[in-house]
C-alpha cells in the first residue's frame, strides 16, 4: 500500500497494511420484515400473512411479464390493511450477488405501484464461498429479528461500486408476482 502527501484535511487512522490483512466476512442487519412493513405502511392497523401458490401455467405467465425467471412457485405476502381495506402488499426476498447475500422487502401499493424497497440485511462472504450451499444455508430461515450478527460494530464497506442489478431484477419479479396474484384472485 502506498499513500499520498501529509496534507490531508481528513483524519483517517490506518489499521494495518492492507496487503497482509486477512479478508473477513461481514453482516449487517438493518430492519426486521415487520419493521420494514411498518415503515412502508405506517397507516396500517394489521398485516395479514398470506401464501400465494402458482401453477406451471401461471409461472410461465409470470416469467413472460417480469422478463426474469420465476424462481419460486410459493410466495409469502404481507397484506397491509386498515379497517379491513387493503392498503398494499409487502414481500420479502433474498438475492445473491458476486460476494454478497441481500435480503430486502418490497412494498407495493393497492394500485400495483412500487412504494418502497428496503434492505433488511446484507451479508458479505469471505469470497467465493457464497456459491456454496453450506454458506448460504446458515442464513436459511433467519428472520432479521433473530439475526446472525457477525459485525455489530459501526463499520462501512468501501469498494468499487456494488451493483444492485440483482436487487432490481428481484423487485421486478415481485411486482409481477403481486400483479399475477391479484389477477388470479389469490390476494382477493
Amino acid at each position: 500500500m502506498s499513500s499520498g502527501g501529509p496534507a490531508s484535511g481528513v483524519v483517517v487512522t490506518l489499521t494495518t497494511a492492507l496487503a497482509l490483512a486477512p479478508t473477513a466476512a461481514f453482516a449487517i442487519d438493518y430492519l426486521s420484515a415487520d419493521q420494514a412493513a411498518q415503515l412502508m405502511f405506517p397507516q396500517a392497523d394489521r398485516f395479514e400473512a398470506r401464501t400465494v401458490t402458482f401453477d406451471a401455467e401461471q409461472l410461465r405467465r409470470l416469467e413472460a411479464a417480469a422478463g426474469v425467471s420465476a424462481r419460486s412457485a410459493r410466495w409469502q405476502v404481507r397484506v397491509a390493511q386498515r379497517a379491513g381495506a387493503t392498503l398494499g402488499f409487502v414481500v420479502v426476498d433474498d438475492v445473491i450477488g458476486k460476494f454478497e447475500l441481500i435480503s430486502y422487502a418490497v412494498g407495493i401499493g393497492a394500485d400495483g405501484a412500487i412504494r418502497q424497497v428496503e434492505v433488511l440485511s446484507y451479508r458479505e462472504s469471505h469470497g467465493h464461498e457464497i456459491r456454496l450451499p453450506a454458506w448460504r444455508k446458515q442464513f436459511v430461515g433467519k428472520d432479521s429479528s433473530a439475526p446472525l450478527r457477525v459485525g455489530e460494530d459501526i463499520a462501512n464497506i468501501s469498494g468499487a461500486t456494488l451493483s444492485c442489478s440483482h436487487v432490481t431484477e428481484g423487485v421486478k419479479r415481485i411486482v409481477a408476482v403481486i400483479e399475477l396474484a391479484r389477477q388470479t384472485g389469490a390476494l382477493a
Binding site: M1, S2, S3, G4, G5, P6, A7, S8, G9, V10, V11, V12, T13, L14, T15, T16, L18, A19, P22, T23, A24, A25, F26, I28, D29, Y30, L31, Q35, L39, F99, I102, Y104, Q116, V117, E118, V119, Y122, E124, S125, H126, G127, H128, I130, S144, D153, I154, A155, N156, I157, S158, G159, A160, T161, L162, S163, C164, S165, V167, T168, V171
Partner: protein
Amino acid sequence: MSPMHGGAHVVRRARPLLGTLIEVGLCGTRASDDARTLAACDIAFDAIAIAQACLSRFERGSDIARFNAAAAGTWIDVQADTDIVLSAAQRLFDDSDGLFDVSLGSAPSGWLLRERRLYKLDAAAEIDLGGIGKGHAVDRAVQALQRAGIVGGWVNAGGDLRSFGKAELELKLRDEQRGGVVEFGHLHDGAFATSCFGPAARSRLSTAQHAARPSHVSVAAPSCLMADALTKVVAACGDVRHPLLAQSCAQAWLH
C-alpha cells in the same frame, strides 16, 4: 440494527438507489427514539433521490439524459444539483489536465455551463457523471441531515461514504477480485471513496508499474464529491501525490 458504539446509539437503514445500495446511519439518539430516527433516514434518501433525478443518464427526463439526447447548439436549463456537479467537473478537468473527463472522451470540450444553463457545443458530446455523481449525492444527503439537526451519522453510497458530527466510522475495504473485506482504519468527519481498476473495471490505471495486477485506489477528502472524483484522477495517473490531492486537502492510497 441498533449497535452501541462509544456510548452512542445508532440506527441504520439501506435502500437501493443510484444503482447501488445506500446506507444511512444516524447516531446520538436514545433507543426509545428508534422509530423516529428510522423515519429520519428518509431525509437522506429523499435528497439522494432528488440528485439521482437530475444526474442519472439512465433516468429519462434528467438534465443529463436531456443533454445527451439534445442536438448540437441546444441550451438546457439545469437543476441546482447538476450545476454544482458540472461546475466541479469543469474545474477538475482543468486542474487534472484533462484526466478527469465527464464526457469519457466523447468530446471533452463539447459542453459549456453558464448560469445554470448547459450548452451542447458538439453533437458527439455525451456526459456520464458516474465518476462524481454518487459522491455529490452523498454530500447532499449529509447536508440535509445536518440541516434537520441530526447530531452525527454517515451516508454510504456503495462505497462512496461520508461521516459527520460525532460518528467515527470503522472503514472496511471490499476486495473486488476475491471477495471479503479488510480493515482499513477509522474516519471522522470526512469522506472516503474507493475505485477498483482492472480488466473488468471502468477506471483504468495505465502506468506500467501497476498494469500487471488489478488494484484499488482510495481517497479521503473533506467532501464526498471530491473523494469520489479524485479516485478517478489517481486511477488515471497512478500518482498518489498528484497536486490536486493536496490542493483539495485529500489523501490517496493505492492498494
